[in-house]
């Protein structure tokens, strides 16, 4: 059970999808996520699954929609520009209440951008991306093991809430190798799908749609979705917290920057600086309560991201009013090394304004 194998992040994710019962993958090539479709093209047929190299990301997400509407677990993966093309379909999935797992191994943008590790798509993933008033469930793995485990989790959450779930990871998490347990920690959940379109034999016809033209119908639908999002916020927050009890400064970071922060925190503690970590694992739902409680006491927050400042805005909303919030960002493939982060810690503790 506990046997671990040296595994690449993208491969762990792809194997996680198979273990989660995903039997339908549709995608279009784009770096740095090509290991995922290539692994699934080889391995899905061995599990009786279907792999289609789609003509575009637009087609990919709509094929996912067709398989998902059939009650099957389906997934696509892409990066940057490809995820942008999928936004229409993701909005339809959310509006029509269909589960799906969408993976974004992020590219630097805007535009075609580069392929170095980056986190420029936080806002797109967490704050809509597509049109209309909806939320994605967003998971942010910070290790190869989490690429495997959170993929299974993504399918479970997507099904439980009938909502698209997105996994966003920087190319570092996607491309590096770590020892990884490639079996689920516990049995995978498979909820009943009493809404799936399987032909009306023996029951009334079913409908999956997102068009509401009657008076107040759309408002009613949106408020219903809001209730669901509130329930997700209430029940599904995942967060890693370290060294917070005595912390005078909290680093908040996800993905690779959180790993760098752990090293920087060790260096800081060797110098007697009391620094702790909050690592959101779910970006929606966001760990607002945890950030509020700990920032009320620690009074100093340093947000580290590989962008020019996206999650930091959500931290500002969540944090206690008296907490000073500092930001260190390296966009476009720039990398925050531990010494850089240590320097930022010292700057922040030397006094800084919110």
């Amino acid at each position: 059970m506990t046997e671990k194998k040296l595994t690449k992040g993208n491969i762990a994710l792809a194997e996680g999808a198979i273990q989660a019962g995903c039997r339908f993958y549709f995608g279009y090539p784009i770096t740095p996520q090509n290991d995922i479709p290539e692994y699934l093209a080889r391995n899905l047929p061995k599990h009786g699954g279907t792999f289609i190299p789609a003509e575009s990301e637009i087609a990919s997400i709509n094929m996912v929609m067709g398989a998902s509407a059939s009650g099957k677990r389906a997934m696509t993966s892409s990066s940057g520009p490809g995820i942008s093309l999928m936004q229409e379909g993701i909005s339809y999935l959310a509006g029509s209440e269909m589960p799906a797992v969408i993976v974004n191994i992020m590219r630097c943008g805007p535009g075609l951008g580069g392929i170095a590790p980056t986190q420029g798509d936080y806002n797109q993933a967490v704050h809509g991306g597509g049109h209309g008033d909806y939320r994605n469930i967003v998971l942010a793995p910070g290790s190869v093991q989490e690429m495997f485990d959170l993929t299974i989790k993504a399918f479970e959450l997507a099904d439980r809430y009938r909502n698209p779930a997105m996994i966003i990871a920087d190319a570092m998490i996607g491309q590096f190798q770590e020892p990884c347990r490639l079996t689920p920690e516990r049995p995978v959940e498979f909820p009943e799908k009493s809404w799936a379109l399987t032909g009306r034999r023996g029951r009334d016809p079913r409908l999956l749609k997102s068009l509401y033209l009657g008076d107040y119908e759309q408002e009613e639908h949106n408020l219903f979705l809001k209730q669901k999002y509130d329930e997700i916020q209430e029940n599904e927050v995942m967060v890693e917290m370290q060294n917070l009890d005595d912390a005078e400064l909290i680093i908040i970071a996800f993905g690779t920057p959180a790993r760098v922060a752990k090293t920087a925190i060790s260096l800081a503690r060797e110098e007697g600086l009391r620094v702790g970590l909050i690592r959101p694992i779910t970006l929606f739902p966001f760990p607002v309560n945890e950030i509020y409680e700990h920032s009320a006491r620690a009074k100093n927050i340093l947000v580290v991201e590989m962008n020019t400042g996206q999650m930091v805005r959500d931290v500002r909303i969540a944090a206690h009013k008296d907490a000073a919030i500092h930001f260190y960002g390296r966009p476009g493939g720039g990398f925050p090394f531990p010494d850089d982060v240590l320097g930022e810690i010292k700057k922040a503790l030397g006094g800084g304004a919110r």
Partner: protein, 250 residues
């Protein structure tokens, strides 16, 4: 008394939202009659595109998935691969299939997806108020080609049935018309053939139906039927452009 004509079981007893004179209703009835005859309604899933056809679920008592504009063939692909034992049809208008959805229709056809697509060609975007479509005839005035479609600026009307017929994955591609009893009977046969292609796992089938949009053409329903005969058929010839007779593609 013997009933000699009645509403098909696969058509709900409801008033449609279609304009008086619109031929969508005829297409709906023919599909419903065919589902009844083939006994497939309880295992058929319909996927309408966006436009006047979107309310398909109000008229057919079957499972329905509402697809994004132009994407019905991709949705149908995912659905048929997930449920090969079900009958999956898409129902698209000309804006949906011939403009925004050209990529999805061509590649679904080229993969030979074992699905059926009904294509309503009425030469305009109907639901949005009669704008120019890729199928609008040369010289035809619409709200966005107010001086008439000019090939120098807007290109030529696109012939979907002929174009799709060139793809190896296509089992059946035909164009019919809905403006006279004779043509309606021919259309019914084509719809049946298309469904049979899918039932027999022959591959992709498409039926293009020349239709009227008297509201946006700004003419009476009767005049619209005459216009279809007089102006559409000379440019969009009726006929079968591809028909697979055996599984010679295997």
């Amino acid at each position: 008394m013997n009933a000699i004509f009645k509403r098909p079981d696969s058509l709900k007893d409801t008033i449609t939202h279609f304009c008086p004179g619109c031929t969508h209703g005829i297409a709906h009835r023919l599909i419903a009659e065919t589902m009844d005859e083939l006994g497939i309604a309880d295992r058929t899933i319909g996927i309408p595109g966006v436009g006047c056809c979107v309310f398909l679920y109000n008229y057919f008592p079957i499972d329905v998935l509402e697809a994004p504009h132009g994407r019905a063939p991709a949705c149908a692909t995912g659905m048929k691969r997930a449920q090969p034992d079900k009958i999956i049809f898409a129902y698209q208008g000309d804006g949906d299939m011939a403009a925004i959805g050209t990529s999805e229709i061509i590649h679904a056809a080229n993969r030979g997806e074992n699905i059926t697509v009904f294509f309503i060609n009425n030469s305009v975007y109907g639901m949005t108020g009669g704008q120019m479509a890729p199928t609008t005839l040369l010289g035809q005035q619409t709200t966005t080609s107010p001086y008439g479609r000019d090939f120098k600026s807007e290109g030529y009307p696109i012939k979907m049935a002929e174009m799709l017929a060139t793809l190896e994955g296509v089992a059946y591609s035909t164009r019919v018309a809905l403006h006279s009893p004779k043509h309606v009977n021919q259309a019914k046969k084509a719809i049946r053939k298309a469904f049979e292609m899918q039932i027999n796992e022959m591959g992709f089938s498409v039926v293009e139906m020349l239709s009227t949009c008297n509201t946006n053409w700004r003419v009476s329903p009767l005049e619209a039927l005459k216009m279809l005969e007089r102006e559409m058929i000379p440019y969009y010839p009726l006929g079968v452009f591809k028909e697979r007779t055996g599984k010679d593609f295997l």
